[in-house]
Amino acid sequence: MADKAKKTKAHQHPDKDGLEAFVYDDQIVRMFAWATIIWGVVAMLVGVIIAIELAYPDSSFGISFLSFGRLRPLHTNAAIFAFAGNGIFAAIYYSTQRLCKARMYSDLLSKLHFYGWQLIILSAVLTLPFGITQGKEYAELEWPIDLMIAVVWLVFFGGNFMMTLIHRRERHIYVALWFYIATIVTVTMLHVFNNLWVPAGLVYLVQYGEMPSAELALKSYPIYAGVQDALMQWWYGHNAVAFFLTTPFLGLMYYFLPKAAERPVFSYKLSIIHFWSLVFIYIWAGPHHLHYTALPEWASTVGMVFSVMLWMPSWGGMINGLMTLRGAWHRVASDPILKFYIVGITFYGMSTFEGPLLSIKSVNSLSHYTDWTIAHVHAGVLGWNGFMTFGMLYWMMPRLFQTKLYSKKLCAAHFWIGTIGMVLYVLAIYAAGITQGLMWRAFDVNGRLSYPDFIETVTVLIPMYWIRVVGGLLYLTGAILGLYNMFMTWKARPEKYEDVVHYAPALSKNDPADPSAKSRLGANTGVGHAGDKFLQGNWHRSLERKPVKFTLWVLVAVAIGGIVEAVPMFMVSSNIPTITTVTPYTPLELAGRDIYVAEGCYNCHSQMIRPFLWETMRYGEYSKPGEFVYDHPFQWGSRRIGPDLAREGGLRTHLWHYRHFKNPADISENSIMPRYPWLLSNTINFDEIRGRVDSMALLGVPYGELLLEGKTVEHAQGQALEIAMELEAQGGPSYEETYDKKVVALIAYLQRMGTDISKTPPLVEETQEEVSP
């Protein structure tokens, strides 16, 4: 290699050929590598904890910040943004500098990126377990953290990356960089548009001149409601998988795999076509998370067919990965790093086949709300993201720490333990998902549900949940071995890292252009010639010389799908037919709904009955789009660890709910729901409900007279007292003890859920039979 021959030590001045000298910044890579493995262990540990909670429900000990609903978002956010996130930053900082023959544009931006990102993760740890959440999956972090993410991602990371590309010394940008570009552009777009909110605390501050509590200060409501919020959320959610867990890892693969295998990449043509088809098609697939929900069917169809078309573009990456290993297979037996890559890419191939499969509506009717989805994402994250990351870390360790890897044996042990753990995990959870899905839809000879009591379909899963715990523990053990191996390698580092100086010429302005294609056709029309030239693909080679232009084309490719799906959903009213009996939540119900969001109830309960007989027989009339117009955010959920709650209102007494929150097992013997004793003792801040209602009003929720007369607080207290007195009449504790407790607000919300649709129009506004507080 040409540049290796020119390696000399610490000569900073350019030589007479006009070559520029530069040193790669490996310190930033070391920092991200450490963050990757340490946060990885944390994310997996939290995963094991919540897995135990499902198998043995009282393992949260009635402690609020250990409850499943609050910890599960911490697990998912840590796995995605802390483990995978730091992993891709390590990969990008290492490979981009080398692929551009340039140090990162700004060391300061690199450092700001690193510390800013760790601060974001720390903020997640300090907010999510304490019920500070937006209540949208993988977008749980509240608005101040959202702002930090936008700045750190786009300005510190994106800015630094783009400036490095602009100041590169390599004429063409390599395929890994294309995927990094797609990642940066699209994640920015997704993050911004799914996190448009009204901060309730600021609304209160403007209206009443003070900030009542930290809780309200951090609270926000999305500007979208119901169906529209659901569409935006899963456009985001699915493409978080696409552009946070797929494209950057494909970029990682395209650099680290040929490096480790010491083989050329299989096909440049395939790189081009699978890159563009992937980024264009992926963005459309989001609605497949909402099959048979209140989302209009056309959107659901779009999500499905684009997911099916996505199969081959995804597999393009797998083919290029596995085929690159041709000629290196004999080394796989002895090199655990290549083993990590092969298993990782194989899991990628399986997941991206399974994804289109699950997006087919009829398959989805079985898989949706079950553990099948959970198994699918874990195959992807543990297999693809995890193993690609570990493979990369092991390859980098000796290079970053400039010494030998501490133990290849431990590395191999990590591979095998991780693989066994992963297989145990996914097999058990596939079995759990399919079992439960089939039980939900089973009918007996009399035409009734075979398992009408939901709990029956849960109890049967418990053994599989224990196998999951074992699988997760094994995977975690592997990661800890990795951490140990990295630590020991680091300990053997030289006293001072050697800064290798590289030399390369700067890019000149008048570099000869890439040869343009000549038509291979004989006698033909001009269009034919143009088409043949296009098919030869030399135009792409020219595009690879222009990173800014390239970035703009990526932006165009990823913007189209989102626009086509979202614009009609917001503009065409027939997508969400109005239901006249659906009215806004009362102030107390709204406060209760916020508690529902804060406790993360959506992690276990859906609020969306699909139009299937087995669902309507179990849960009642299927859900309509017009029922959710005041739901900021929507809370349809994605997994039924517990039953659907869409029509929960009025089905049970206040006392039932009160006692159920106190201890579900008292009422339902085998329930795996945790206890919520703090809801019975923590008080409602009635005053700040004003800020919640005012925020809703700002978003266009018609509260009318209630607001004008400034009676929000009074109304909430009246309703709370009413419920507390009913609770007492039903045999509960005295109303004086309960009326200002959070549980009363939550009960108010639960008793309202799904009831509007069966009311008779014209509806009389809020019942005025108030009991003065």
Binding site: E262, I273, G327, N446, R448, P611, G650, A729
Partner: protein, 211 residues
């Protein structure tokens, strides 16, 4: 990495492989064509997408999901309720249900999905929430049809809510099943035997077809 255009263990097809002049930090790329099956499946999936959209959304071949559900519900009503659908809601209807094993089984299924959360798995009652339904004591019931009223409207003091998700035939079946539990005397917790002993319910009317 200068030897990469002569792959050591891939001699069979080595002559077909053309290495491009690209070199990025030592990474090179082959100019291999995209596999034919990749093209075929990709184009096939695109054709499927178009056909699916046309067939499902622009032809009447597949009824909408609302229509499909309505058809399912209609067919299921026939299986579940049979001739009960024509019978008025009265004691005879409940007696008829009690005389059929199949309908009682349906009543039990509804009971398990709806009532056990307060009345317990064996209908033995749960302290403070639901009464024991297996003894002779009743608090809100004087005659069998009162059970139908309770399920439909709940109690006035709101200790039992109306079961609004059930249709009248389902209510009849679950009421008949609840009535049939009387006299099985499953021991319940303290206080679950509240109420007074009332006159026996009328006897089941046995039917031949069982619905």
């Amino acid at each position: 990495m200068s030897d990469t255009n002569k792959p050591d263990s891939y001699k069979g097809e080595a002559h077909q492989e053309e290495l491009l002049s690209h070199n990025y930090d030592g990474i090179q790329e082959y100019d291999n064509p995209i596999p034919g099956w990749w093209h075929m499946i990709f184009i096939g999936s695109c054709i499927f997408a178009v056909l699916y959209v046309v067939v499902v959304h622009f032809t009447p071949m597949i009824p909408s999901r609302e229509v499909r559900l309505a058809n399912k519900i209609a067919a299921a009503e026939e299986i579940q309720f049979g001739k009960l659908r024509e019978m008025p809601m009265d004691e005879v209807k409940l007696q008829t249900i009690m005389g059929s094993e199949a309908w009682l089984a349906t009543g039990k299924s509804i009971f398990n999905g709806t009532c056990t959360v307060c009345h317990g798995k064996e209908a033995q009652g749960i302290t403070g929430l639901g009464l024991n339904l297996t003894d002779d004591n009743y608090l809100y019931v004087k005659e069998m049809m009162d059970i139908v009223g309770l399920v439909t409207n709940g109690t006035e003091n709101k200790k039992m809510p109306a079961q609004t998700l059930l249709n009248p035939n389902e209510i009849a079946m679950v009421a008949a099943y609840a009535a049939s539990l009387r006299g099985t005397f499953v021991p319940g917790p303290e206080g679950s035997d509240a109420g007074e002993t009332i006159a026996p319910f009328p006897a089941p009317i046995m039917s031949d077809d069982g619905g």
